[in-house]
Symmetry: C2
Subunit: 549 residues, 2 copies
């Protein structure tokens, strides 16, 4: 049997985040991106979610490289968890590499990692793959897409892209490379679906500049701007606007400081001398000459902005007359936290600008017309939408179909699916799949929090628990201790004496009916659950503990 | 001392939902609205949130009436909890009253309630208050605003309103009444702030009709439309469009069926004979002659739409070619559930239209230009923004200021604040406040779930709990039972034998160092918490139980 080319999304297909795509041919695999996802609201207590790499671990000798398309968390965030188990070379452009270094350093993993940089436009030879890289504009500089030439044909991976006509760094998405690759013939295009439910074009990143100018012109006090720590283009625009309005910029928060320092060193961020000042020098300047840049655009409880909003920040106390710009959009699930932060900012007397009120944020992802342009430039035989929730994949697929890709040449697949191409370039969905479930990271534990633990956490979060303790004399069956009740998260125990007394009576009543061992425990569980539901219409986790001494 | 007029928001000021406003003069109080709020995401396990009415209960003989402005949950939803404790007459327009009846009936409270209807435009004499009612357009028919003439002056309460130029029921917001009242002189305007961060005008409800027509024209199979059960205007537009496109409409779900039946009876909903069909008659018609109307626009797990999306609905199984319209907007906090529902609908093969893709929903609340119009018509001396999160109140206040209301005549107040007006019509904020915290309803319990229970539920939801049991001989101090570990929501116990064994060792080690009673328990709690954190970087609720027999 001739070897087949396989494309396998392990993350990012059918969800936003934790992006990872494999391209496999014979005994060689390249991995594109290794991102994390923030937990959904029902993943209680989980810190982050990363892709399942067991498919790769089973083929560890075949993995040639991890190629990172750009430096956002959803593309690099899983590296600290992947590299200790799969230490292969990581290829990226200089800025992306800088961001990876910052991240690995904070995990004390930098010295063991093999990081290799390439300039966008360079070609990587990872036999049997030839990987041409080309620039794509996004909300961070130095992002790339990939044209991977394989023995079966060329696969184009768009990375996260938009066709920004006036990007902050002046670097357009590489139309000519895309057209050239398209002209040579492309087997399959894997393209960013994130915004496939956005009509038209995504506005240019530089449109933000106009909004910033309007706010800067009105502001009489300090200006505080919150955005993602990795949004280098946005940070550049803040610095540029500050210069125009004769303000100094101070960066608050470790992650953003690290990223800014590194981006300045590498030349991805430009700031005239003396514009950036240390926070402890802020008091040398009047309020109307200050800009504070910080994180917190998602209302993250420990972020600088949220601390400021809650009067809980050591160095910045909000005062009436401050102006705050929330230069971010909500990741689904964060809306409540963001709204709460906004309310607290207003309570503190600040003038606050957010996307409802002014265009202070734009997306970094292509809208429908740009997605069509990508397809039309690349002119692939097959189309595989990636990077998006299921609905985005479907909408992107319909878009592709509407501009001429035949329905049966489009693969709407979710994580773990294997799209196979034979030597004639014919594609089919393989019957087998790669393991690709969400791997939940909670504290040190990676993957040990699963269905059972989450189900218990959910149950406990809704109605708490009640442990009923009783110790029996193993000879007589008489109660020698208890019944004793331990309950948390169920009722306010101090105000529920009758309920607790009733519960104890129910235990004693059940014990009187006899029985021992597990049968008795099961009986107690039923009786108590029923009693408590009748009394409260709540269903705490009931755990009877009958011991015998 | 001359009596003062008091305006007291008990709900809805500084938050969205659970609206309730009091107007008090001497020994008389009228209550405007009695709404519920859906719990925020950190109110774990809570069913609904209602206003604190203890201020009213302390003055129960003074409460003349509850006047309901319209039939939405955030204005009527607390009645089943308020009326059993404060059984005063409830005044409302016929449709609103019908919705209240449906609600009270489902709580078996209808026969004890005193419901009085008025036609919009009617005047209620509730000595010393004269309450003129006037129509306001909103996303439900028969909504009113109130002009309450008191011995000190007239207070206008806007209700929830927009200035819809082409409302579905043809009833405009009553410009002339507002202008007339304004001309007579208004002491204070209390106005709906919900959309004060929306620029311009809110589109008319009838603009939806055009979107519906576009979708109906394209749909080749069944059309399923999800909206709020109480959105009578939207339901009317669905019926009208169905008639135009020769489709039958079936209503799925008890609450919507009840509302539709009642609205038809009262004449607030118009449907030609034979358009509405029973669900079990659906199979008599081809798919392209069917419309299914249901709830689920918020992704509520038990709603008809979500069940359909999950292939879990008894009567409707989604098939390829079905078209779904989500005619609703997300209540903050519901975005994830809605997105999940959308993804599942797409997975089932449906064509799905939601607000990103087409204008299938409009707000029922005034945007900034309409809010200005309200202020300009009423021309109040004082302005009190209500119905909105804190930021909305501030933005609404700034809007009022921008069109001429002096800053010191605007009261940005939150629930429980008391705005007092003396006999000369001078206002001030009272030093005292009314109790106005969120009252959480969980099962039968009303108000018993407070900070402690919620803190415990949050703790349990993140890291679960671990109970460590050990029984000692009361004479010798020797262990006679245990140590035994019960843990849920912390680690997957079956895969954590080493951790459990280590925990037991830590217990035994601690016991060896001696100590008894609470000191020993406290020591065990410290030792175990520290051990478990070191091992897992998680912090379960640790509960040592040392018994002696």
């Amino acid at each position: 049997m001739k070897p087949k080319l396989k494309i396998i999304p392990l993350g990012g297909a059918g969800e936003i985040g934790k992006n990872m795509t494999l391209i496999e041919y014979e005994d060689a695999i390249i991995v594109i991106d290794a991102g994390l996802m923030f937990p959904e609201s029902d993943m209680l207590g989980v810190d982050i979610v990363i892709p399942d790499i067991s498919y790769l671990l089973e083929r560890r000798d075949q993995v040639r490289a991890i190629i990172i398309t750009h430096g956002h968390e959803d593309h690099i965030g899983a590296l600290p968890h992947v590299l200790p188990r799969l230490n292969v070379p990581v290829y990226s452009t200089p800025l992306t590499c800088g961001l990876i270094e910052v991240k690995l350093k904070s995990h004390k993993l930098l010295k063991d990692a093999t990081l290799r940089t390439f300039q966008m436009g360079e070609t990587l030879n990872l036999d049997p793959f030839t990987v041409e890289t080309f620039h794509v504009s996004h909300s961070i500089p130095d992002g790339v897409g990939l044209a991977v030439t394989t023995p079966v044909g060329t696969v184009v991976h768009s990375g996260d892209f938009k066709f920004d006509p006036s990007p902050v760094d002046g670097q357009l998405t590489d139309f000519s490379k895309l057209a050239e690759v398209g002209g040579r013939g492309v087997l399959a295009l894997l393209s960013d679906s994130t915004n496939s439910d956005s009509l038209g074009h995504t506005p240019s990143e530089t449109t933000i500049s106009e909004s910033f100018s309007r706010v800067f012109a009105m502001a009489e006090g300090r200006i505080i701007i919150a955005t993602f720590a990795s949004n280098i283009s946005r940070i550049q625009q803040v610095i540029d606007t500050a210069v125009r309005f004769n303000r100094k910029v101070t960066i608050v928060g470790r992650s953003m400081q690290d990223n800014v320092r590194m981006s300045l060193e590498l030349g991805y961020l430009r700031a005239p001398d003396d514009v950036l000042i240390r926070i402890d020098h802020m008091h040398h300047y009047p309020s109307n000459e200050i800009v504070i840049l910080c994180t917190g655009g998602q209302g993250e409880p420990t972020s600088a902005l949220v601390r400021m909003a809650n009067h809980d920040h050591k160095q910045v106390t909000l005062v009436e007359g401050d102006t705050v710009i929330l230069s971010a959009t909500a990741i689904p699930g964060n809306e409540e936290m963001i709204n709460r932060t906004l309310n607290n900012l207003f309570r503190a007397g600040a003038f606050v600008y957010y996307d409802q009120l002014m265009a202070v944020h734009v997306s970094g992802h292509a809208s429908q017309e740009e997605q069509k342009l990508m397809i039309n430039l690349v002119r692939p035989k097959y189309f595989v939408p990636i990077h998006g929730e299921y609905r985005h994949l479907v909408l992107h697929a319909r878009l592709a179909q509407s501009i001429g890709i035949p329905r049966h040449n489009i693969f709407i697949v979710e994580n773990g699916a294997i799209v196979e191409f034979d030597e004639l370039g014919n594609a089919r969905l393989a019957h087998e799949t790669a393991p690709a479930s969400d791997v939940l990271v909670d504290g040190i534990g990676v993957g040990d929090v699963g269905t059972t633990v989450l189900r218990d956490r959910h149950h406990l979060s809704q109605d708490g628990f009640l442990v009923a303790l009783v110790t029996l004399d193993s000879h007589t069956g008489e109660i020698v201790f208890g019944p004793e009740i331990i309950t948390h998260g169920f009722v306010y125990a101090e105000a529920s004496e009758d309920l607790i007394a009733g519960t104890k009576e129910a235990i004693i009543g059940t014990l009187k009916k006899g029985g021992r061992g597990t049968a008795l425990s099961a009986k107690l569980k039923d009786v108590l659950s029923q009693y408590l539901y009748q009394q409260t219409r709540r269903r705490p986790m009931v755990i009877p503990v009958v011991t015998e001494v």
